[in-house]
């Protein structure tokens, strides 16, 4: 492996992106420790980070074009895993059958990994397109590529993961020349349909009581029963607000997570833990790091000469930005509670491995920007 790394590869390797991603992940390990100092999630996360870095370097030094060629194979394999989740091999946690337990490998979440093959598959398909606006046929095929994993995920059901797939397709459409009037139309339609669907859903009872409460908790967290479904939202807001300017500086003895007021502190609500421990200063620094990482990725997309590569990077950047927004918005109490991990921060091998694989592709594409 090392032997085939040429000198040119090292010269063109995107060290800044790599260092940023690893720094955020290390910061994440510290916060996981703050969240539950008496449990070993943080040490597991270090192991996860090691595995993720290995995968990252393998992908970064591989030729992404070859991998994109094999995309259908990965895609098919991913669908198989998603289907296996629904069999007795799947593990049910909190009413969601989202995990797969295999001998030797252990327990992992295929819906997390499946994002990468989906990105590659879409890039492969739309990368061939050279000119002109997005046609209906192309839109349908693109939609179809995403519909297969999405359908399987909805059967688990894991709404949080499913939602994170949409920005991937949106980015692919947007960069494949979808007409601006359709974009504007879609936004207008959403602006009308979302409230309409809400009203209809509440009246017909299609939106369940607990789902309504979760959403009402966002609109007015003080009004909902703090012991009911608004509990997560109000506790997260308390945790964030408590952090103040500079946080509790690691004095976790009376922290919201240690006293178990904050649920899922090491995964879904890791940002609230960060806010409590490091305050406004720490949170703004983290958001700036994310902004820097995203702009670094997007800059890479703009430099690349190869269309499929550009699509891979932009899909990944969009998905990351979206996931950050959904997760932090939830922690800050203005988006409803859905289980979306915070990229690079939340504890969980599947998530960190997927994110580093994705960034590995970005680095690989960037490294080959001068090829040809």
């Amino acid at each position: 492996m090392v032997a085939i790394i040429e000198k040119r590869d090292l010269r063109d390797f995107d060290w800044l992106t790599t260092i940023l991603a690893v720094a955020i992940a290390c910061f994440g390990v510290w916060q996981i420790h703050n969240a539950l100092p008496n449990e070993n999630y943080w040490s597991k996360q270090i192991i996860g980070l090691g595995i993720a870095l290995f995968a990252f370097f393998v992908i970064a030094f591989s030729d992404y074009r070859r991998i994109i060629e094999f995309a259908p194979f990965f895609y098919g394999f991913g669908l198989l895993l998603l289907a296996l989740v629904l069999t007795p091999l799947g593990v049910e946690v909190n009413g969601q059958q989202a995990w797969l337990k295999l001998p030797i490998i252990g327990q992992f979440q295929p819906s997390e990994f499946m994002k990468v093959p989906t990105v590659l598959m879409l890039a492969r398909y739309f990368g061939k397109k050279k000119t002109g606006a997005l046609s209906i046929r192309e839109a349908l095929i693109g939609g179809g590529i995403m519909a297969a994993p999405l359908g399987l995920i909805m059967l688990e059901p894991d709404v949080g993961q499913a939602i994170t797939y949409f920005p991937i397709l949106a980015a692919a459409f947007f960069l494949s020349g979808i007409k601006i009037r359709y974009v504007v139309g879609a936004i207008v339609l959403a602006a009308v349909m979302v409230p309409a669907a809400w009203i209809v859903g509440v009246k017909t009872g299609k939106i369940k009581k607990y789902q309504q409460e979760r959403i009402m908790a966002v609109v007015d967290p003080e009004s909902v029963d703090p012991r009911g479904f608004g509990y997560h939202t109000i506790q997260s807001i308390i945790t964030v607000g408590k952090g103040g300017l500079s946080g509790i500086k690691g004095d976790t003895e009376t922290s919201q997570s240690v006293l178990k007021f904050l649920p899922e502190p090491h995964t879904d609500f890791i940002f609230a833990v960060t806010a409590e421990n490091t305050g406004f200063i720490g949170c703004i620094s983290l958001l700036l790091a994310y902004a820097l990482l995203l702009s670094r990725l997007i800059a890479g997309a703009r430099e690349t000469t190869e269309r499929a590569g550009m699509l891979v990077i932009m899909s990944i950047a969009t998905a990351l930005a979206f996931q950050i927004f959904i997760n932090v918005g939830m922690a800050l109490g203005f988006l409803p509670v859905i289980g979306v991990p915070l990229p690079l921060m939340s504890a969980g091998l599947s998530a960190i491995l997927t994110t580093f694989c994705a960034i590995g592709f970005v680095v690989s594409i960037r490294m080959r920007r001068f090829v040809n």
Partner: protein
């Protein structure tokens, strides 16, 4: 930008994505600023509120002693199983019912009731599930702490009444404050909270504020399920003040024993120091055991016992000495005679009135029990001549009787320092009603009222207070049971929040006695008559104690028909007295319900008390000046 050649404006579109992404991140930054910088203190306070709990440490209640330092009430440590609210909020409590009732040996109805109470009343932080937990109960709770985090063991000093039914009406009992009481200004202004233990009845109620300690607390950090993680601060409670009462346990014991030994075992006995109003003994029978109320109110069998007390037709919970209203019979003649002397209807020199064996009023002849000729006042008292009093009252007229009633405070409470005292009912209160109903107040009613019947019912305590004043130059003291409260030291550091200031000792703040105007001659003639009742061949001659003169008056109050055995409605027997007759140190009243003659049933009870008084105060030998040569009395 090389991809621009694709005519899809890709460069511009990547910029759009970047701008949108940054805008969203900026939005998060703004929200963060709002929550952490603008509202940071508020949320910080919310976080603190939900993790900090104050767990009260109950303060030991002051003990109660008799005047010689003998213990009457104290508190002993017991363990309670306590149910806390927090962990129950999120679970289905019905699953707990069989577990608790099996584990703690409780009836499931009771468990359901307690669970409902704590679920409904949100302000209850915790509620006692089982009092006086046994070692098995404690072991069961400890070993199930993970399954049932809502249960905990708490040390609670429990009130204990070592003498059981004795003095129950004086002491009262303690219990959890009721929801109804919490709404009352009297209690809410004192900062009492649900679950607080307060005095109910007797001294426990009257002096609750002194007896009650100031609870301390443990400030702890709890997790989201209410489990204690850490202790931040402990503030020790300050005990309540010890009460020394005026009761003399020896005399009280005698009173209770003699009362219990009486024919019906129902009645009241009060012994008082006429020189200051201190109550030496106050017994009402039948009685109840206050321990049943303090220990039993949370067990089904204890509740049955309490219900039985309430339903018992002998009314054990009712304090006959201050709440019972009885026709006074001939004891009424003492204040009546004094009133007549004051009003000048008769004088010390000229007090003779005809007995006549009775009196004819209209068509009705009301007879006297004997034929006494035309006796002077003292002889009329000694022999309890009804005929004399019929005529005396007619001379006084009803207005004169009412004036006497006012003089001796029969229209008021005596002001004894235990709650729920009743007011005597007399012609003063009846006259307007009778006049309205019958058009006028007829003479026959005055005749009946003259011997303490018909429109006269009095409480034993009010009669004792009135008669006792005759022996002490007309000083009517307010009877009282509180002698003093012992001081208690300060707790904690001065100036700190946990500081409890010292509580100084308090002695009874005795109001000035009401003065009944009487000349020494008037007093002497009255005492002479009362002396004769016991020492001069009067109606209570049988209780005479050698070398110890008693001045008294018997009373036999008609309930259905005077002097006849009418079963359950036999006459009430009275005896009211003080001794030594010419220098009183103790006044005693005895009332026995439905037994017959006062001289043969009530007077012996009083005698028993005097004997105990002589035995305990004077070693069984009455002081030299306790008796006077009968010849000298006759000359007075």
């Amino acid at each position: 930008m090389k991809l621009n050649e694709y005519t899809q404006n890709v460069g511009m579109r990547t910029i759009v994505i970047q701008v949108v992404a940054f805008a969203l991140l900026a939005l998060l930054g703004v929200r963060l600023y709002y929550l952490q910088i603008v509202q940071g203190d508020y949320w910080s306070g919310r976080a603190e509120n939900q993790r900090i709990r104050l767990i009260p440490i109950p303060a030991p209640r002051g003990a109660i002693f008799d005047r010689n330092g003998k213990i009457l009430v104290d508190s002993r440590p017991t363990y309670n199983v306590v149910l806390s609210n927090e962990p129950l909020k999120t679970i289905d409590v019905s699953t707990r019912v069989p577990e608790y009732s099996r584990g703690l040996n409780l009836e499931s109805d009771f468990v359901v009731e307690r669970l409902n109470l704590i679920k409904k009343q949100n302000e209850f932080e915790a509620l006692v599930l089982k009092e006086s937990a046994t070692m098995q109960d404690i072991a069961w709770v400890e070993s199930h702490s993970l399954e049932f985090p809502e249960l905990r063991i708490e040390l609670q000093p429990q009130r204990f009444y070592p003498h059981g039914t004795m003095l129950a009406h004086v002491l009262g009992y303690v219990g959890e404050i009721s929801p109804k009481q919490l709404e009352q200004e009297e209690y809410s202004s004192r900062g009492l909270r649900p679950g607080d233990i307060i005095g109910k009845g007797g001294l426990e109620q009257s002096y609750d504020q002194y007896l009650r300690g100031r609870p301390g607390y443990r400030k702890v950090i709890v997790d989201s399920r209410g489990r204690v993680q850490n202790e931040i601060e402990v503030v020790q409670p300050q005990a309540g003040q010890d009460l020394v009462s005026t009761i003399d346990l020896d005399i009280q014991t005698a009173a209770e024993q003699h009362l219990a030994a009486s024919a019906t075992g129902r009645g009241a006995v009060v012994a008082m120091d006429p020189n200051n109003g201190e109550i030496l003994a106050l017994a009402s029978a039948p009685s109840f055991d206050p321990n049943v109320f303090t220990q039993g109110s949370k067990t089904p069998e204890g509740r049955r016992q309490i219900a039985a007390y309430w339903q018992d037709e002998k009314r054990p919970l009712y304090n006959r000495a201050i709440q019972g209203q009885y026709p006074p019979g001939s004891t009424w003649k003492i204040p009546e005679s004094m009133g007549a002397l004051q009003q000048g209807v008769i004088t010390v020199k000229n007090s003779n009135l005809a007995c006549g064996g009775g009196i004819q009023v209209g068509s009705k002849f009301t007879r006297c029990m004997g034929s006494h000729g035309s006796p002077p006042l003292s002889y009329a008292i000694t022999k309890s001549c009804d005929g004399y009093y019929y005529r005396l009252a007619l001379k006084m007229k009803i207005e004169g009787l009412i004036q006497m009633i006012e003089t001796f405070d029969f229209d008021k409470r005596t002001g004894i320092d235990i709650p729920n005292e009743k007011i005597s009912q007399t012609p003063k209160s009846w006259k307007p009603i009778v006049e309205k109903r019958e058009g006028r107040w007829s003479d026959i009613r005055t005749v009946y009222a003259s011997i303490g019947q018909d429109t006269v019912v009095v409480t034993p305590i009010s009669m004792l207070r009135a008669v006792a004043s005759i022996g002490v130059k007309g000083k009517m003291y307010v009877p009282h049971l509180m002698k003093e409260f012992k001081p208690i030291g300060a707790m904690g550091e001065e100036g700190s929040q946990s500081y409890f200031a010292e509580r100084p000792g308090v002695t009874f703040d005795r109001p000035d006695p009401k003065l009944v105007p009487m000349t020494p001659e008037q007093e002497e003639v009255m005492v002479k008559g009362m002396w004769g009742v016991v020492q001069g061949g009067g109606t209570a001659g049988s209780i005479r104690i050698p070398d110890f003169d008693i001045a008294g008056k018997t009373g036999t109050a008609q309930v259905a028909q005077l002097g006849k055995d009418v079963g359950a409605k036999k006459d009430h027997a009275w005896f009211v007295s003080f001794a030594p007759a010419f220098k009183p140190e103790i006044a005693v009243i005895a009332l026995i319900e439905n037994v017959g003659f006062g001289g043969s049933h009530a007077a012996p009870v009083a005698k028993g008390i005097y004997e105990t008084f002589i035995a305990t105060r004077y070693g069984g030998v009455p002081p030299a000046d306790a008796a006077i040569d009968p010849k000298l009395v006759a000359k007075r």
